[in-house]
């Protein structure tokens, strides 16, 4: 009974706290400073929302202590490490395209040095990828983006999520670094986002293809535009990457759903509520 009361007290907290803390999750507009362990990623999200343009983000392996924040555990012996907090003041831009994003990245690199980033473009969108990084001894080396690795994914019929898992497993196998797949959409599910109620399985595979190109090829088959963040978890006892695939968010934080689906007869679109 006491346990239930405690739960209910926690539930009650949800009525008050969300509105207070919400501001901490929103990204500031251009011209205002962003303080974050991944300020470039946060700003890319802001641009994605504002311009409905895919801007993906990939993080380098962070091994130099100057690039990491260390937190000692309250108990136990595991040290927690995260990307170093940085402040980024992005320049104002009129539109999002390759030159403008390159200008943003140059400003970022000028403010922070290393790790540095660069931008490439594809038919799918713009991609912020790591350029140079410091190794453990402080030497500046090429970042060797994880998704530049050639991968093999056996062709098979799988659900979209199983296919995404297979892709991450292939990158893990090729690089030796665990890549965990993740999709933060609670509803619709990843499979629903991908198929829009159509065929629940897809047949897909690649043979010795650049992982980024393979990922673009895979996500291009989705009924919903999916962007990605490849984030690194650098704690000594728990080092891995998370490949977050997510729909673009509107300013209201609603997900843009089924936008790549010209005719989705099976999708159950929610009726917009009266405003």
């Amino acid at each position: 009974m006491k346990k239930m009361i405690a739960w209910k007290a926690l539930v009650g907290m949800t009525c008050v706290i969300p509105m207070i803390l919400w501001a901490a999750q929103t990204s500031p507009p251009a011209g205002e400073s962003i303080v974050s362990g991944r300020p470039l990623s946060d700003f890319a999200d802001e641009l994605e929302t504002r311009y409905r343009t895919i801007i993906t983000y990939e993080e380098p392996l962070l091994v130099n202590s100057s690039d990491l924040d260390v937190t000692l555990p309250a108990f136990g012996s595991k040290i927690f490490m995260g990307p170093k907090m940085r402040t980024f003041i992005p320049p104002a831009i009129e539109k999002v395209d390759l030159p403008n994003l390159e200008r943003i990245i140059n400003v970022y690199n000028g403010q922070h040095g290393f790790p540095s980033f660069r931008v490439i473009s594809s038919g799918y969108g713009l991609h912020i990828i790591p350029d140079k990084v410091r190794d453990a001894q402080g030497r500046v080396i090429s970042a060797n983006p994880l998704l530049d690795t050639l991968i093999i994914v056996p062709t098979a019929k799988r659900t979209p999520w199983e296919t995404f898992e297979a892709f991450c497993q292939a990158v893990s196998d090729a690089t030796g670094i665990t890549v965990v797949p993740s999709c933060p959409s609670l509803r619709p599910s990843y499979d629903e986002l991908f198929t829009a109620g159509g065929n629940p399985e897809i047949t897909w595979g690649v043979e010795s293809v650049n992982a980024r190109r393979a990922l673009i090829d895979l996500l291009s088959r989705s009924a919903t535009t999916l962007s990605w963040h490849l984030n690194y978890a650098p704690s000594p006892d728990d080092q891995f990457y998370v490949l977050n695939a997510s729909p673009i968010l509107l300013p209201s934080r609603e997900q843009v759903l089924y936008d790549r689906c010209g005719d989705c007869p099976n999708v159950k679109r929610p009726i917009p509520p009266p405003r």
Partner: protein
């Protein structure tokens, strides 16, 4: 003369008045209640009196035959009665809570005519005055005038005629008063699966049926919140969860209904159910739950975290504009501790 009068009545000269009567109902629907107006109106061609009786009945089962008093599924709400004279109307109105008591409301005015005919009887002498004037009184209108020997004597003729029932009906569109949740189970599969299924139901008078109506959710204007990401910030490699798209579905009443091809969950029958609401972290996001729990076991940085949102519930009219029937809405969400995952929806809970 008296015999002539009786004869004239029989011939219809002073027959029962022509009386027309009708009834109607109207409703003004507002959130939570409806204002119902019922009226009976009687028109007569001369002075009379009538008794009116207006009854308002609500019928909770739309399949019942609407036949007034004898219907077992009808409930008398109120009556209005009294005498009225001449051409007039009698009306009655009331506010009825639409969600709890009414589906079909109809007015049954019963008008009973009770009219009186006043006749004057007298014995008169008729005179002729070529100058148009009489010393004995009387009238100037004609050269003829009369003088009553006695009287007049008033005879009252009364007649009670039940005019029967007039009937009108109006349909009130009911809305639920709230939401109910029943935990059904977890997403099939081995742990870690953190998606809990709740059967979403509608709270209302059990006699009400919302079959074929359409329910949908809306998370606005309240912003959902991910306290896990807020606590860890950019130290978490996982993106914050995106607000879920609102669920929607038709009220299916008493048929078995599956949530969808991805979960393979089927349930039912449920009265006034409209779907299975999946609350929690799907398999595609469960790695984050495991990671947060691992961090909590090391005491970093908080012992628990949660996500929460408020759902506003809407239902379409019948027909008519959708209305929000659950204000301010119910909360959905989930908690993570180092060892437990806990989901909730509209007062129902699930722990894993």
């Amino acid at each position: 003369m008296k015999r002539l009068l009786i004869l004239s009545v029989l011939l219809g000269i002073t027959s029962a008045p022509a009386v027309a009567q009708y009834a109607y109902t109207s409703t003004s629907l507002t959130q939570g209640s409806t204002n119902i107006y019922a009226s009976t109106h009687v028109e007569v061609d001369y002075y009379t009196a009538y008794y009116y009786y207006v009854a308002m009945w609500s019928e909770l089962d739309p399949n019942c035959s609407v036949n007034g008093y004898s219907s077992d599924c009808s409930t008398l709400q109120a009556v209005a009665s009294g005498w009225s004279y001449g051409s007039s109307s009698a009306s009655w109105s009331a506010s009825v809570p639409i969600s709890a008591t009414s589906y079909v409301v109809f007015a049954v005015p019963e008008v009973v005519e009770y009219h009186e005919v006043w006749l004057e009887e007298c014995y008169c002498y008729i005179y002729y005055d070529p100058y148009g004037y009489s010393l004995y009184g009387g009238e100037w209108a004609t050269p003829y005038f009369y003088v009553c020997a006695y009287g007049p004597v008033v005879y009252t003729y009364t007649n009670v005629i039940p005019l029967g029932l007039a009937y009108s009906q109006t349909t009130v569109c009911p809305f639920p008063t709230g939401e109910s949740s029943t935990w059904f189970g977890w997403e099939p599969g081995d742990s870690p699966y953190y998606m809990a299924f709740f059967v979403a139901g509608l709270q209302a008078n059990p006699n009400l049926s919302f079959d074929d109506r359409y329910v949908y959710e809306d998370l606005n204007p309240y912003n959902p919140f991910d306290s896990c990401k807020a606590a860890w910030g950019s130290n978490s490699p996982f993106d914050p969860w995106n607000p879920p798209a609102g669920m929607s579905g038709a009220v299916v009443g008493s048929i078995y209904y599956g949530y969808g091809p991805y979960y393979g969950v089927y349930y039912g029958p449920y009265h006034n159910g409209y779907g299975m609401d999946a609350i929690g972290w799907p398999n595609s996001y469960s790695a984050s739950v495991t990671w947060y729990q691992n961090q909590m076991r090391n005491g970093y940085p908080v012992p628990s975290c949660y996500w929460a949102a408020y759902q506003h519930m809407y239902m379409n009219g019948c027909p008519g504009s959708p209305q929000q029937y659950y204000e301010p809405g119910h909360s959905i969400g989930g908690f993570i501790t180092s060892s437990t995952v806990y989901m909730f929806r509209a007062g129902a809970y699930a722990t894993r």
